[in-house]
Symmetry: C2
């Protein structure tokens, strides 16, 4: 079985009632809503509307309301949404009530950049381990953490209760690192290596491939040139 993207469609407890499935497409947009809500909060805005929030998140207000309807009923007709409250609820649905612990495997240029990225902490994640296979890198300090040997992965994941692994290793090592993360027991993997990864059904993989993103842009650029724009 091969999985590259998208996990299963699972339920969310809604206050007293039953369980509601949140569609994958909706889940994928929730972080954007959370971001927009954070910005509104920072600007001191207390109440917002589906129009305003949608505008900021870059979606239509119809889609925003539809998405939020899967989570429950957190607005007031005629009034709008309370920013702080909605923000908290979306956070709960995304499982950010508990902080998730993350390891980064592969401390090259990209691993360095990720380790130093402050957005992780700001948005609910703690980077608790950096690992690398290269003895020359092991022992160095990056972003306040000492890089540990890659073969310590199982111990690090278990002892520090890590649930998400980030793969910033070279493509040829990606599947090996992935297997090690799965064996160590993480439930989610974010990979930057340009390779499809094989994982068991219970593990969720998200893949970011920068060159693929550029190729998708190239497609549109090519059409544009061809049709003379």
């Amino acid at each position: 079985m091969i999985l590259v993207d998208e996990g299963v469609d699972v339920g969310v407890r809604s206050s007293g009632a039953g369980v509601r499935a949140v569609p994958p497409a909706t889940v994928a947009r929730l972080p954007g809503y959370l971001r927009a809500l954070g910005a509104l909060g920072d600007e001191g805005i207390v109440t917002t509307s589906s129009d305003e929030l949608a505008e900021r998140a870059g979606v239509s207000s119809a889609q925003l309301r539809k998405d939020l309807s899967f989570l429950g009923s957190y607005g007031r007709r005629g009034v709008g949404y309370e920013v702080a409250h909605l923000s908290e609820q979306v956070g709960v649905v995304l499982g950010l009530a508990t902080q998730r612990r993350v390891v980064i495997v592969g401390i090259g240029n990209l691993g360095h950049a990720l380790a130093n990225y402050s957005g992780f902490a700001e948005r609910g994640f703690a980077v608790v381990g950096l690992l690398d296979a290269d003895p020359a890198v092991v022992g160095t300090t990056v972003a306040g953490l000492v890089v540990e040997p890659a073969d310590e992965l199982a111990r690090v994941v278990e002892q520090r209760d890590v649930s998400i692994g980030v793969i910033a290793a070279p493509a040829h090592a990606a599947q090996r690192v992935c297997d090690a993360l799965v064996d160590a027991g993480v439930s989610g993997i974010l990979t930057f290596a340009p390779r499809a990864l094989r994982v068991p059904d219970h593990v969720d993989v998200r893949a970011v491939d920068v060159a693929s993103e550029l190729q998708i842009l190239a497609f549109h650029d090519a059409r544009r040139s061809a049709t003379g724009a």
Copy 2:
């Protein structure tokens, strides 16, 4: 008008016949097929089947055949696909026949990592400019290029025929950089800043937000914990 993702659905010339629309979902998978074809080629495999290629790309063979059918008819029934030929055709559809030139704006940790990433060149892109707003960074050499001042953007884009801009600047500067790229005339933008960007209809934006990816993984992790797995 706000656009964060996905461009328009545009056509591809097929050998003699008319124009066929390639659905966005298909376009988004083409880079993965190209990658898998490259790997097959590297292994010296000359002919492949939809089963084999799909397995490597991490999709179903039905989906692969459906996707390829939008591009034209490049296989032989009973036989399969010639790796080199299919690879070339997919490349043509993605507009990789012409090399695209790229600038990176924001040479912090991430910009550094991107500038040094060899995958760009390997997959059809030339990084021809690095720009930063910080005078302390301007003038330094990164990945063989001298970092130029951000306000030289228009000149760099025009003189070096740049069609794609990569935003690796801080979130608060993202919209400003985006506007400058649009004014300079790029047709596609890849942004790593956690912000929805406003662009005119004729410009295509792809957004990579690492923390959002982790939040999506957190959602699945939370369901898993809740349902006791």
